[in-house]
């Protein structure tokens, strides 16, 4: 019984620990991204509120919370309200399968990777429903793009991970990390990693693949009609997915918490942070492709590459016995 209680306590600690850390980090990320962008654009970025402008996060939160909770007359109110919560919920749920360190991690599922794929597939409903419920032509266009983009990139996102699964022989993320004791999967699965990264960007519709938002063409795309905290949820959802994708890349390709000298959690955090920075750098440096280019790229380049990766990995494994 005692162990049972301790387990429950441990689990609860893990759950809330992961939850708060994820949300807090996200909040920090909004500030971090802007400062980094600032540096890369030869300007300081937000540096006025609090030390290093850190309180900007708080200021923004206060602002978002106190904005008028506005639902347009022409919107489908229940769906309109529901949509932003979906993205938050699914992304946070996907975090449960991430093994942060040997001791930290909410749950170890046999089908951990599949669970993640399922959750990220669900997230698209948030965008599509939100867009549809807005009753706005820009939102609708954004929603359509999101649907098409997610469906297309989902396909090879899954495929790109199969190499890792074959190598590790498991869908359980913890086993996958353990399987990298002798070397990160980044090397054998270079292609898979790259494909997963691209698909991850597309899934979280981050720049440069933020076509559902594309503010130059679609005002603000699917969240044109959103404001206040409802917009905030979409916003936070996006940063959560950055974290999530970075954490997953770390887990799947960069050996998770494995690493010498430093504690495992620190290794995990460092690797993830580097990836987050990469995300931000991509945003700072690359222009957005045209929508048709994006689709063509997905189907005509990424998909064949993912398949190739799969076939090669499979063949090598069979050849090796």
């Amino acid at each position: 019984m005692n162990t049972g209680h301790a387990d429950i306590a441990m689990t609860l600690l893990n759950i809330f620990g992961v939850l708060t850390t994820a949300v807090l980090l996200t909040a920090l990320l909004t500030w971090g991204e802007r400062r980094l962008l600032g540096f890369w654009q030869d300007r300081p970025g937000p540096n006025r509120v609090g030390p290093f402008g850190l309180m900007q996060v708080v200021a923004d939160m206060i602002k978002l919370f106190f904005k008028e909770d506005f639902i347009p007359r022409f919107a489908d109110a229940p769906v309109f309200l529901l949509a932003p919560t979906i993205v938050m919920a699914t992304t946070l749920l996907a975090f449960v399968v991430v093994p942060f360190s040997p001791a930290v991690g909410v749950i170890d599922m046999h089908i951990g990777l599949l669970f993640f794929l399922a959750m990220s597939a669900l997230a698209v409903y948030s965008v599509v429903l939100g867009a549809y419920a807005s009753g706005n032509k820009y939102a609708l266009l954004g929603g359509l793009r999101a649907a098409a983009q997610t469906v297309s990139y989902e396909v090879f996102m899954g495929l790109s991970l199969m190499g890792v699964v074959m190598l590790a022989g498991s869908f359980d993320l913890r086993s996958i990390v353990m399987a990298q004791e002798n070397g990160w999967f980044l090397l054998p699965q270079m292609l898979g990693c790259a494909i997963f990264l691209v698909a991850g960007i597309a899934e979280s519709h981050r720049l440069p693949l933020d076509l559902p938002e594309a503010e130059h063409e679609l005002t603000a795309g699917f969240h044109t009609e959103y404001s206040g905290m409802k917009f905030g949820l979409f916003f936070v959802g996006e940063y959560l997915s950055i974290l999530l994708i970075s954490a997953l890349v770390t887990t799947l390709f960069l050996g998770g918490w494995l690493g010498p000298w430093l504690p495992p959690l620190v290794w995990f955090a460092l690797k993830t942070f580097a990836l987050v920075c990469l995300f931000i750098l991509l945003r700072a440096a690359l222009p957005r492709p045209r929508y048709d280019q994006l689709m063509a790229f997905g189907w005509k380049v990424m998909l064949p590459l993912a398949l190739l990766n799969l076939v090669v990995t499979g063949s090598v494994l069979i050849w090796r016995g």
């Binding site: 890369w40 654009q41 030869d42 300007r43 300081p44 750098l281 440096a285 690359l286």
Partner: protein, 171 residues
Amino acid sequence: MISILRSLWLVFRHLFTRRVTVEYPEEMPYLAPRYRGRIVLTRDPDGDERCVACNLCAVACPPDCISLQKMEDADGRWRPEFFRINFSRCIMCGLCEDACPTYAIQLTPDFEMCEYDRQNMVYEKEDLLINGPGKYHEYSFYRHAGKTVSGKAKGEAAGEAKPVNVKSLNL
């Protein structure tokens, strides 16, 4: 692919370059005299209003934020009865200054004109008119125009001959 990596690298390098922005308002940036900021109406070297209410600035203005009404004073000059710029619409493009045939309307290096109430962004002639000639010190339209104003009869403008006496025989 290479170009993408190259862009990433180039942008990344900016982490280590100097910032180009300054910490306004602690540090004031240099603004050139021809900077396009708050608009003023100037006076000619004799201290008279330069604006002759020709409406050219108003028609040149892309957001249509200048409005005025011509009136004619006892001294024969055209003047704006009112001259209004709605700065909440102005885009500081300077086309009004370009269009002005008298150098009356000029943009100045001052952009600090925020207000809490948008209504306060509406400037009338009293708010716009300054006491000097602005960037152009010498020009006075009526010294060149053919129209008679008090103190300048026909034939007294720059480059004008004395008026013809139609009734004389030596034409």
